[in-house]
Amino acid sequence: MEPNLFKYIWRHSRRDQVIILVIVVASLLIYLVSLELPKRIVNDAIQGGAFENSTTADFLNIALPLPDWLGGPIPLFGGFQLPQMEYLFALCFSYLFFVVLNGWMKQLVNTEKGRLGERMLRRLRFELYDRVLQFPLLHFRKVKQAEIATMIKDEVEPLGGFIGDAFITPAYLGGMAATALIFIFMQNVYMGLVTVAMLAVQMTVIPKLRVKILQLGKQRQITARQLAGRIAETVDGAVEIHAHGTSNFERADIVSRLGKIFHIRFELYKRKFLVKYINNMLAQTTPFLYFVIGGYFALKGQFDVGTLLAVISAYKDLPSPIKELIDWDQQRQDVQIKYDQVIEQFSPPGMMAPEMQAVVSDARLAPAPLLVQRVTFIDESGGRAVEEASLELAPGEHLAVVGSNNSGKEALAALIGRLVAPAGGKIMYGDADLASLPEFVTGRRFAYIGEETYLLPLSLADNLLYSLKHYPVRPRDLKDRALTRFEHERHETRRAGNPDLDIHADWLDLEGAGVGDLDGLEKRLGDLLNLVELSDDVYQFGLRGRLDPASADNDGARLAELFLQAREAMRGRLAQPSLSILVEPFDPERYNRNMTIAENVMFGTALKPALSAESLGDNAHFAATLKTSGIDGDLMQLGAKIAETMVELFADLPPGHPFFDQFSFISAEDLPQYQQLVTRLQRSGIDDASELDQRRLIALTFPYIEARHRLGLIDDALEARLLAARRTFRERLPRHLVDAVEFYDPARYNAAASVQDNILFGRLVYGQAQAAQKVGTVLSEVIETLGLKPRVIAVGLGYNVGAAGKKLSITQRQKVGLIRALLKRPQLVILNNTVSAFDEPSQRRLISQIRADLQDAALICVTNMPGLARAFDRVAVMQDGRIAEIGKPAELDRPESRFRALAEVSA
């Protein structure tokens, strides 16, 4: 990257800078005119200066003001003859016009400067990010992601503000200062000299003082960046910190860093104000010199007082541009340092050439033998992990690489996978050096899968299809206004030097996946899910997942319709006597004894916290519903019974007894209060209880489930009254709660509930052994018969895998990594201990399935289980970085061979 910030700015914004400069000059001219006008208004129009010789005056008489020796002024426009009053108005409105025009131009300049700055910032940020993508892979072990992020995000930000001012400010301020200085010189040469001398002192001393400030600024930047890095480390290492109880050590570290930052910042602050003080001093000593020197000359009679005043007033205009210039200069150095700092961090040795990643039209690569020729690799500790290893792999051949832990087999796979570069030797693919093949081609044709698969915090589908997204295959289909907007956007993108790759285009490389259309892709994905045995997991995600019927993404409305059919079928199945006792369906007209009282009244899924189980008691509408339907009295009675029972059951237990948490309606701390409450009630009855007590009693009944708690509290009459409350709750639902609850409606898909709950549409009955398993089996049968399993899997593919895929198990992540690689139908696959997290039978099964899918592709499989290697075409045994044995498994599997020894150790 360009090391000089100014050259960088000039190169990329020359045109805009010149345009803005022109506008600035034009606005200055207009400014001058608008300064001239008041004088004319007063002198010519009001005091009648222009009307001394005639009754009318020239207005808008425009001439090109050429000096006499060039032939005198050339008239351009004769203008109008106006009487005095009209002349006054004409001048006044001209003044207004120029003022407005001037304001508008200033606004224009600022807008343009802003656009320019933002555009450059966008360019710079993109360029930095682009460089991150070109970092050699090993460099990522040295950089901290938080620091990189801070640099791209925060540290270049001030540059954006400065870029707009980079050339314009010095030009503008310099011009103003020069004008004022010339004016002073014209009044008196000595005064001019004094001014220049003082300015010279100011302009040499101040920048000197600022050197230290700049150094401190640099330190401040570095320490702040390191702080960001440390904080990220704390977050990443949280588990270790808690496991080892080292939080105080971490605290100490941050305390010391913050202390350092404090000192740097305070020092900076002190010095900044020192400079300010000296600057002001110098600026204000100059008038002192004027008075002394000017006064001296005036008394001597060589100078008139008017000139002295004129000089002083001109000087008043001088310091502000000078000061701003000095400020600008400081800002310049500041951003240059920031720029240097950032550029340095983004220029590691061994950056990938941009051509390696460029989109090319033809990414085909004829299958060719892979030749590893005397390759050596030196790891970061200086050890020779691979030493002069040679091997050859024909297209379609499957090779297993085995060896002990430090044999170098993983490093060999990393070399072939191009994760690291060899220190000696060569790896060839046919006639081409592997290192010279563009990433755009290898990324599509080869697949490397390591032990860890990084997953993006997106849906499972996004992660699985990630390997097909190499370039925008089909542009977006846009029309009319959307198209115009898109083109405008693209124009701006190009102006900022960003590539016009459209993230919203269709990136799926169906051809690369070997399928004709999206249905084909879905089928292939389904096959691969089966192949790596991930279908069942995804199916479960789907059952527990949610479907948004409004989403167009996976045809939500139709899917919801299908799941409603499944609900219907499920209801039919559950009508059988042996199953009907297991599930109590949601029926708006019946009380559900397997739901809590609160759920029975609300009868829907809460979409907002206002109606969640915890806050329902405080909800005004819920309370009003209980009151208007007249069941608050019933509930109080019921609450009293529950309180009584709880006090009876739990009174003898010591506080902190686990039963409180597990079974009680009342916590151990609250129990004494309820004990008193129960005593009070026995004395004076519920009607006399305080409002607080009444509310407490009602709230106590909310979590009560008749079928589970079995206190026999809810009879038919109470059920009927609770049903009435249910109706009231729904009918009188206030407008602000309309989207806070999704009611259980047999004819409607409930977007807030899982697919499983939507199909089941009821509650499992308490106390029925194995109800969950039995109902689960029926549910699966229903889904299977309706042919909905792929649909459920489709919902499951929408499952969000969480940050770095942490919501999946390690084996699931490895499976996702495998599918991702197989999906693009690679011609060379490197498995580097990929399925290591699995038990041996699973590894055996998976490897054989993968090999069947890769019949035409070459495969290198590094494994810790030599037993697996027997099925491969050939086996390479590595020892101390060298290939000790290579050949067909049957040839190697003889007494005394290294392969046999390895196999025996691991068996």
Binding site: E648, L649, F659, H709, R710, L711, G767, Q768, A769
Partner: protein, 150 residues
């Protein structure tokens, strides 16, 4: 069925006959009711043991796996306390129990069972008594079997 009925049923079981009703009520409240249909398996031999069962009604077979297939060793009915060996000794289930009629049980988790025994020693003593009786009963059977062989 309400918790009161559970308590009544528990009172009829010798193991709990001497325990205060309030404690039985707590036990009934804290344990889960589990209803089995004929043919349902309470647990299989070899499963890990997480709970014991008190049979409130119905009947179940106790089956032991033998090389010749499952062998029925006993039938249990209301009042039986089954599955306690697994949770007391922390061993996998030593037999399979299958309901032969519609059966109601109270499922007492391992945790709850030990809680009850520690909190209310009277229950512990009752458990000891029942187990001792069982050993005595087995000794008698063993003597008879040995005698029959001779």
């Amino acid at each position: 069925m309400s918790i009161q009925e559970d308590v009544e049923a528990l009172k009829r079981i010798p193991l709990f006959a001497k325990v205060e009703p309030a404690k039985l009520k707590l036990m009934a409240f804290a344990s889960e009711r589990a209803h089995y249909q004929p043919g349902d398996i309470l647990f299989n031999q070899g499963d890990s043991a997480d709970a014991a069962y008190i049979m409130l009604s119905g009947a179940a077979d106790i089956l032991v796996e033998t090389p010749g297939g499952p062998l029925k060793v006993a039938t249990v009915g209301p009042g039986a306390f089954v599955g306690e060996i697994g949770i007391l000794c922390d061993v996998p289930r030593t037999a399979t129990i299958r309901a032969t009629e519609a059966t109601n049980t109270l499922k007492i988790t391992k945790e709850l069972f030990f809680r009850m025994v520690t909190d209310f020693p009277s229950i512990g003593i009752e458990v000891m008594r029942v187990l001792a009786q069982r050993i005595e009963h087995m000794n008698v059977q063993l003597r008879e079997a040995v005698a029959a062989r001779k």
